[in-house]
Symmetry: C2
Subunit: 225 residues, 2 copies
DNA sequence: CATCGAATGTCGGGTGTCCGACGAATCAGT
DNA sequence: ACTGATTCGTCGGACACCCGACATTCGATG
């Protein structure tokens, strides 16, 4: 076994959750890593497109991926996911076409898992199936929370909440205002107005494709309201 | 084995999806039915409340259940689910408190599954775990679709879409306007205005806690826009 | 350093929705 | 049939948001 494979195995074990009551033996993770292929995706390329038949799913190891659908004329962003997320598994398990397109917005490293190899593996190793289950349900939970964040909230509150969630270790969010607007289902102008307010409040600093969080306190204040 | 148990087993097999590549042996369904307890819930009673520690999950066999959370002052409806849906499993698998309350809005029959009995069962029978997984992911899909339905859509379009989805075999939707408003995150008045428009258009008829769909064609026309 | 595409900041006009309020209609219980 | 509680229908004012438009600024590319 190559060292890289071991590394991926360890990474997978961490990514699929840390539930104590589901002890994961090392060979479980290794088996999963062996079943997949590590793929390097360049910025802007697609993992899959809406309508393609779902033969495989992907686990994101590095980078950000955007999920979107055509809706009428334009496209609407369903969600944006990062390392640890599993994508395409819904359609894959149901043996149907993907219901959204997945595009790497940064350079990304993903693990591609073919349906024909994954399903037998999960059936043979119940612990992996259970982990996968818990992981998928966690995703469901965060999606539901996003619904709540969208409902009955002004753009200002939504923007503040998003910045609070998305900031990295240095308090930076590297998104254009247009992208934020798409994520929230708002217009770019309204997002700009909200950012202006937060800036004048001293909660953030804004730059080109970059927002720096200065005061998390004020931010969550504007978010909760 | 009592006849009622057989019936529940058959029902469970149907409810957890019909994926051909996951053949479910009869004893799988029976084992699942045996692991749970059938509970009768009267209108208005709670299956569980937000914050309670999640010891069990529920499969709904009859009736409708409403999921809601406290948000600030009032409560906001997360979703409304019917027969076939599984609820409470997210928190249960994660060993955390329930993140929303579940209340029977009609009389309901549910199967209560204790965590301590279910987890070993799923580990012993991978097919069941996989079915559960596919079912949970389907729920995730419909939640995502609901997000899309909420974003960038007028109340009229949302109401038309909801009626199209929720009508039963006779084209009837038995919900009060206030409930519809909660489901969509809109005000009762706006829902009323949308219904008035659809009524004058000849697409629906309205009554006390009842809406009858007359013309599905016009409805989907108003929904798509 | 010149150029061009992309992103930001800002302005009015138009409108969809919320909110409070009120009366009419419907249902359930004594 | 009377009564109280719930639901429906409707109005006008307030306001957050969308949209189009335009100038400005930033960053990559040669």
């Amino acid at each position: 076994m190559v060292p890289a494979l071991e590394q991926h195995a360890a990474w997978l074990a961490k990514s699929l959750g840390r539930t104590d009551y589901l002890p994961m033996r090392p060979d479980d993770a290794v088996a999963l890593a062996e079943a997949g292929v590590v793929v390097n995706k360049y910025k802007g390329t697609h993992l899959f497109r809406e309508g393609d038949f779902a033969n495989a799913c992907y686990i994101i190891e590095e980078g950000d991926v955007e999920l979107y659908r055509r809706s009428g004329s334009g496209r609407s962003v369903v969600s944006r996911i990062g390392p640890g997320a599993v994508v395409g598994d819904i359609a894959m398990f149901q043996e149907r076409p993907y219901l959204s397109s997945a595009r790497a917005v940064t350079g990304a490293v993903v693990l591609r898992l073919e349906r024909d190899r994954l399903v037998p593996l999960l059936l043979a190793r119940p612990v992996l199936a259970m982990r996968w289950l818990v992981n998928g349900l966690s995703q469901l939970e965060s999606t539901q929370q996003r619904i709540i964040r969208l409902m009955n909230r002004t753009v200002l509150e939504q923007v503040a909440g998003l910045l609070d969630d998305e900031q990295d270790g240095f308090g930076e969010v590297l998104l254009s205002q247009a992208t934020i607007a798409e994520l929230l289902g708002a217009s770019r102008q309204s997002v700009n107005e909200a950012l202006s307010y937060l800036r004048s409040d001293g909660a953030i600093e804004t730059g080109y494709r970059r927002i720096t969080v200065l005061d998390t306190e004020r931010l969550s204040l504007a978010s909760a309201k």
